[in-house]
């Protein structure tokens, strides 16, 4: 009567292929979203620390909005909600593309960018204000001072929280299955519904998520250690 474990069924044959396909999608959507989120987060943070009021205000609104609403709602907003705002022709064109995947990327990167911007801002605050003043005094423009002096230091400080954001994004990516993106979690659900061996399917997918996270955090920490060693030399 007890549950009959059968891990072989889940990791081999057709179902094993499903897991691999799901893993590929999870890695792809996470990687693209991480890059986008990093770029957007940096831009947002720069807007936020400029002294130009409207820009600061836009960045602030963005950050608070995306940080304080549920990601699942945002995913549905991009996917179902955008329909009523966009013109018909655009909708038709979008629907013919891989709209599910794009919406997943947009939702994940927009959401995570807000957190990255905040982390980066605190990193910048950790750098003595005199450095910016000194760089400006040396004749660097604001953007140059940011690019050559402030941001490189700030990024080094925020590596640990940044890693957390990356890991969160990878785990959050499982939510995109709600709009039909066939990621790892989706495939685990699929196997469960086909075989009723949900325990095994989810154990396997959990272990895969765990491995991805450990690999990502380990490699970034290694990189960080090396950079820190060079920096303090």
């Amino acid at each position: 009567m007890a549950y009959q474990f059968d891990f072989g069924l889940v990791v081999s044959g057709e179902y094993g292929d499903w897991i691999l396909q799901g893993l590929a999608i999870t890695l792809k959507i996470s990687a693209i979203s991480i890059v986008l989120a990093l770029v957007m987060g940096t831009l947002l943070c720069i807007l936020r620390i400029t002294k130009v009021k409207p820009l600061v205000w836009i960045a602030w609104t963005y950050t608070e909005f995306f940080r304080n609403t549920p990601l699942l709602v945002q995913i549905f907003f991009w996917y179902f909600g955008s329909y009523s705002v966009l013109p018909d022709g655009v909708n038709r064109w979008l629907n013919a593309q891989d709209f599910e995947f794009s919406c997943g990327v947009i939702a994940l990167s927009f959401y995570t960018a807000a957190f990255i911007a905040e982390d980066l801002r605190s990193g910048i605050f950790a750098i003595p204000k005199t450095q910016l003043e000194a760089s400006r005094a040396c004749g660097l423009s604001f953007m140059q001072a940011m690019g050559y002096v402030i941001l490189p230091q700030a990024f080094r400080i925020i590596v640990p929280p940044l890693v957390s954001q990356f890991l969160n994004l990878i785990k959050n990516s499982s939510l995109v299955m709600t709009i039909g993106v066939m990621d790892l979690t989706y495939m685990a659900r699929q196997i469960e519904s086909h075989t009723f061996h949900g325990f095994e399917a989810f154990t396997v997918s959990t272990l895969i998520y765990l491995s991805i996270s450990l690999i990502v955090s380990f490699s970034i920490q290694q990189y960080n250690l090396r950079v820190l060693r060079t920096a303090t030399r």
Binding site: Y3, Q4, Y83, N95, G180, M182, R189, H194, T195, F196
Partner: protein
């Protein structure tokens, strides 16, 4: 890593220990005086909450009531979802699962199935007057489905160039169809009929195409209790032979209902 392994082993032991001692389901049910059925509570017309009485009613509920009467015990209903139904059955929370569950070979590992008590097939729900008339018309287009159903792989097999987009629930899949994100929604005809008539404008939608795959529904019962399963099977056959089945069927799927589906199959009757 070692701690993780220990935790996993502990989890498995707990799962195994949680399984109840086993003394034959029939005796169990009679001793309890209650027959507990896991049913759907939002799947018209199989099992759903009646707006007036707030009770779960439906085709599958009536079948369960018949079996409970035959056992001479009270019927208790527990709502299940596609993802909870098997766990609840193996843990003994419910005695039987009647939840639009397709009998598939790959699903035999965890539970046993009764003989088929409802036969339907997978078809397509499309916009009326639209370009989709059969599964072949889906070539290169997107089709919506619902997770946990058996429909996705079937439609892929019937038309390999179609892209399946699966949603959590039927209302979401239907919304995607309305917004033109998918060209059709595919699942069992009996469920499509329910979606179509739940809409404000049922006449705007059409159910088209031949059966992509047969979908025989079976009742889920615990593994390796043939006495219990025989009892369920024989009761189903008795229902069919006595006409009690036809009566329940007509009540939910007959000509006078909005979910009209002609009764075109026959139950497997053991000689």
């Amino acid at each position: 890593m070692k701690r993780l392994a220990k935790a996993l082993v502990a989890l498995m032991i707990l799962t195994l220990a949680a399984a109840p001692a086993f003394a034959g389901k029939l005796e169990d049910i009679k001793a309890k005086g209650v027959f507990t059925a896991g049913v759907k509570d939002s799947q018209q017309p199989f099992g759903f909450v009646d707006e007036k009485t707030k009770q779960i009613v439906g085709f599958e509920i009536d079948i369960m009531q018949y079996i409970a009467d035959k056992l001479g015990v009270k019927l208790a209903l527990k709502p299940v979802t596609s993802s909870t139904r098997i766990g609840m059955l193996t843990q003994g929370d419910v005695d039987i699962v009647a939840a639009t569950m397709t009998h598939k070979k790959d699903r035999e590992g965890q539970v046993d199935f009764s003989i088929t008590y409802f036969m339907t097939g997978q078809r397509l729900l499309v916009k009326k007057d639209g370009p989709i008339k059969s599964v072949k018309d889906l070539a290169g287009k997107k089709v919506g489905s619902v997770k946990g159903s058996t429909s996705e792989q079937n439609v892929k097999k019937a038309e390999p160039t179609t892209t399946v987009v699966s949603f959590e629930t039927y209302p979401e899949a239907f919304l995607a169809l309305k917004q033109g994100k998918v060209e059709a929604v595919t699942t069992d005809e009996a469920i499509l009929v329910g979606i179509k008539y739940a809409d404000d404008k049922p006449e705007a939608w059409d159910i088209v195409g031949d059966y992509i795959s047969p979908e025989p529904y079976g009742l889920g019962v615990v593994e390796n209790d043939s006495k219990y399963r025989d009892f369920i099977n024989l009761t189903l056959m008795e229902m069919w032979e006595s006409g009690a089945y036809k009566k329940i069927y007509d009540k939910w799927f007959g000509k006078d209902t909005k979910n009209y589906i002609p009764l075109t199959w026959t139950m497997e009757l053991w000689p």
